[in-house]
């Protein structure tokens, strides 16, 4: 039985929850990497933040539950992808402002 990784409807997403999710250096960096709009593996080797895989999983979950990303299950491995177009429609200019910030 395959688990599912529910993400909220974008219309239910509150700005303050998006900001809370992004108000963390690790998650902000993840989003910046995801800014290319492509699906990226969750593999620990791809995200070397010097933390345990459980901590990384926690951050992925936080982003997903905030409506910022969704999860793609590919057998044993997972990808994570930014909900770029949806976020741009819901909060115009926000992603760009975050990603372009020096």
């Amino acid at each position: 039985m395959s688990a599912d990784y529910p993400a909220p409807d974008m219309s239910d997403v509150k700005l303050v929850d998006v900001l809370s999710a992004l108000a963390d250096p690790t998650r902000l960096e993840i989003v910046r990497v995801l800014a290319d709009g492509l699906a990226h593996p969750k593999a620990t080797t791809e995200w070397d933040f010097g933390m345990q895989k459980s901590a990384l999983a926690y951050h992925f979950k936080t982003l997903r539950e905030a409506g910022i990303t969704f999860t793609i299950v590919n057998g044993r491995t997972h990808d994570i992808q930014l909900r770029k177009d949806e976020l741009d429609a819901r909060f115009p200019g926000l992603l760009d402002a975050l990603i372009n910030a020096r």
Copy 2:
């Protein structure tokens, strides 16, 4: 002796600290009110969030220390003002995105 209310140089302000400061409903609402760029009194009567004045002072301090606002002392009363132009220069598009969000 008059207290001073130091605000950081905008060049030292980190995006993640701005996001942390704004990741709170009360502070986000304060910033939205301040979005007109004018100085607003800190008076408790102007900000009826149903909390004690000490809690409000905590939020004002959080915003100031994050580099989002500064304090203007007028004798016994204080004003708070958004660092609009500085923020726009430091994080282009961020304030607009936050303020225009539905």
